[in-house]
Symmetry: D2
Subunit: 286 residues, 4 copies
Amino acid sequence: MQKETAILLIHCPDQTGIIRAVTDFLYTNNGNIVYLDQHTETSTGQFFMRIAWQIEGFQIQREKIGEYFDTLLARKFQMTWKLHFSDQKKRMAIFVTKLSHCFYDILYRYRSGEWQLEIPCIISNHQTLQSVAEQFDIPFYHFPITKENKLEQEKQQLALLKEHQVDLIVLARYMQIVTGDFISHYPFKIINIHHSFLPAFVGSKPYHAAYDRGVKIIGATSHYVTEDLDAGPIIEQGVSHVSHKEDVKAFIRKGKDIEKIVLSKAIAKDLEHKILVYNNRTVVFD
Amino acid sequence: MQKETAILLIHCPDQTGIIRAVTDFLYTNNGNIVYLDQHTETSTGQFFMRIAWQIEGFQIQREKIGEYFDTLLARKFQMTWKLHFSDQKKRMAIFVTKLSHCFYDILYRYRSGEWQLEIPCIISNHQTLQSVAEQFDIPFYHFPITKENKLEQEKQQLALLKEHQVDLIVLARYMQIVTGDFISHYPFKIINIHHSFLPAFVGSKPYHAAYDRGVKIIGATSHYVTEDLDAGPIIEQGVSHVSHKEDVKAFIRKGKDIEKIVLSKAIAKDLEHKILVYNNRTVVFD
Amino acid sequence: MQKETAILLIHCPDQTGIIRAVTDFLYTNNGNIVYLDQHTETSTGQFFMRIAWQIEGFQIQREKIGEYFDTLLARKFQMTWKLHFSDQKKRMAIFVTKLSHCFYDILYRYRSGEWQLEIPCIISNHQTLQSVAEQFDIPFYHFPITKENKLEQEKQQLALLKEHQVDLIVLARYMQIVTGDFISHYPFKIINIHHSFLPAFVGSKPYHAAYDRGVKIIGATSHYVTEDLDAGPIIEQGVSHVSHKEDVKAFIRKGKDIEKIVLSKAIAKDLEHKILVYNNRTVVFD
Amino acid sequence: MQKETAILLIHCPDQTGIIRAVTDFLYTNNGNIVYLDQHTETSTGQFFMRIAWQIEGFQIQREKIGEYFDTLLARKFQMTWKLHFSDQKKRMAIFVTKLSHCFYDILYRYRSGEWQLEIPCIISNHQTLQSVAEQFDIPFYHFPITKENKLEQEKQQLALLKEHQVDLIVLARYMQIVTGDFISHYPFKIINIHHSFLPAFVGSKPYHAAYDRGVKIIGATSHYVTEDLDAGPIIEQGVSHVSHKEDVKAFIRKGKDIEKIVLSKAIAKDLEHKILVYNNRTVVFD
């Protein structure tokens, strides 16, 4: 059986001795490393690292690891860091509208136990997918959105998310633009799927735009949501060739298969604590 | 041995009976069809067709085929059409600057007999690749370009192209923008390779822009050159996944392999008379 | 709205005049063609065609089309042909065991109306997925299989399939080999998904075999089931790159996404009457 | 400018403390690490590592690094290791027969300076490509092979390779099977390109076999040559979709583009000292 692990995500200005210092810290305290990957971005001189080790046998008790790491290493190297434990399940909310392909793909993985995850609630601006939520026994909340009520509805949504202790939000073809205020409560914690290979075809109706431009490849992009529309850090992209024989409807049909796979891959990486964001780009460890 | 064929490229408003009429015309005159593909674009109601048949045994003599086809069919169906013969080699000029990857890929295919083609001349704004041209025994012409002499140099180039009876131009990473006047002499007869998946990253330094945006897929696009920069009808696109481990240099290195394959595929389709342009989109037959 | 169409799938020895004859038959009887694709396989001299036209306005009544086509055209050209109508829904049975990824992918498309289809029954040799079938309100039948009862159980299954008027069977990771006798009742009407890019890794545990061989690409193959194990005509294949960092578990996880897309694409092509089988190969029209 | 580096490739049984020990060794001796990647294969409990650091400033002199590393670290951890220096160019021989696509692709990269490499000689069993070798000013040696003279010719080839101090051999569509004796002089130093996605279609005429099987994907595989035909450790694989419209000739044409890219990628990885072989599988670092 998989032993429980502690997982550190780190970034800091690159300098000599970081890997040695971190591995030495773990070695000295009897930490059995089960994952180590790191990357130095030469363009920014930034160092990134993900390291995981077994909790069992580690000489620093779980509650104290953060404090010790911060004191002994993080300050010295000016590290930004996050500590996770593999036995903590993230709590993810799904936002949907009417399209079900990404929604089903997420729910099937959840139900089949593919992911380490809780889904406490589903939020939608329409009632179309309520029956699907019920089929999977997950509470469904309907928040109709109009220009007038948007801010108020987001306030209600935030309260609901807080109540459900949600720490990750997925916009699974949610056809509403969320406000900067809303986003500020979940920085780099909202994953969106955009149905084009960004930065091409930002905004609405990207398949129509792709058809009009006569492209020979269509795609989809999953990214963290920031205040700039469709401009947040990209996590994963996928594409498929198209020919003149395919019209907009065919683009949409083919695109759905790309979207759902690309979104689910991004969610998986987030759940495994394998993504670091820096400078509006992502480091996505294998 | 492959028998010589006549090839018709047709487009016209869609209506009932076109395929029947064209195949009847060939059948009646003893034409043995070796290729037939057609497509109706529902968004524009336009019909496209490529049909090829053996010249040998066809009852209308070669020089008269165009006239007969126009009289008996094209006018009735308001067809725009072009007639080619498989034994006519296109004469293609290559424009280059300093990068050699696409250049070599084209020259190797030419030399190894992969393509039905003559390359009477190579034109460059630098002398860097002159030795490669000489290595392949193809006349090389050096036209240094400045803001001041651009129009004059293009005039000289046009004269040279006319002299060499060039009917297809390939910009194989030619780092100059050609003028609208120049393009007007070769409408949909100039193929360019752009080093991004258009319409993302139009203009110069697309790999730098792609890196800055943090994309997870890079690409290349071959298209016919029109007056609008990087906005002409797309012929072929290719992509490759990239990760955070790859910097701009790595993008450029990986991109070269995509570019040369994508450009050569587009050239091949053009040489086989398999491309129709309509409404700034292409129909590219298999 | 999409008008209802008649669809003909034809193959016969190639000869001059087939397309003309078929299009003339339709034109003469006021048939408005909405799809025409054909292919001549030079290696076997075989001609393949798919043609569809609107039923409305066609001068031969629906029930008589087959008879007329056979009399006037099929015999003359020695055609093998099948006639379908777009308003007839296929009735498809799904066979599953314990894995749910393909199962959910099929059910979601069914439920969301992506396919023209009825699913009257689900058959399994285990009860694991019964709750999923119930979740989608589809009758689930449990047929436990042992060496001893296999032939008897298949007899029962065949009776059930007949009762449900099933005309297409999908083995969605069904972990039993069906007998030649069973297959003979559904020739080229049983679609299987094999979890490797065939012909590599025939048989059981292909991901383990792929890992042991050290491949850098894994894949999946959907094919019609014939008596020869994993050797039936291939409909669709998909692949994904893998690296040394991925172990067998990772292959299996990544493979599931390929399998479900590849299987669903094959089902879609079958439902659209776009597949012809000849010489253990398929012609899959666009 | 890129500073010169020392590069260590290591594998050993996995145990706690390896990374710490190696990074400590470098840190203590003032080694500035510019690359570190490692991998633990859980199925075999084997640890793999590639680490590179700047020679300038390192306190152990270049000639002594191997000895020190062996004494202080390798023995303790039972490491198998190789030390390379980035300023040492590999000397690579190319074996060809008649097909030129891989040959040109290698020569263009060599000529354009893409690779850190010397090509002292080209060996062929035919004279077809002699003119290409001359075009690139590289000595060409013709060794006609018959059943009778094969062993004797290989002896001559080995003498020539030794004379030219060759340490890497590329079989660029060399249509001869080399003997086990020949291979034993270059263990995991001979790279071959096989024109199928192995293990499918081992042996000759794989495109014909692929066509006969009716596959929808074709591919190519580069691998180190071992005594078992087409069964050596795989370095890189590439694929392309094909349809029923493509015959064997089309497979061959399309396959050439895959082959040359796949072979060149494998060569690049070898030249960068990024490949480790273990248990007939490769670890190919990014």
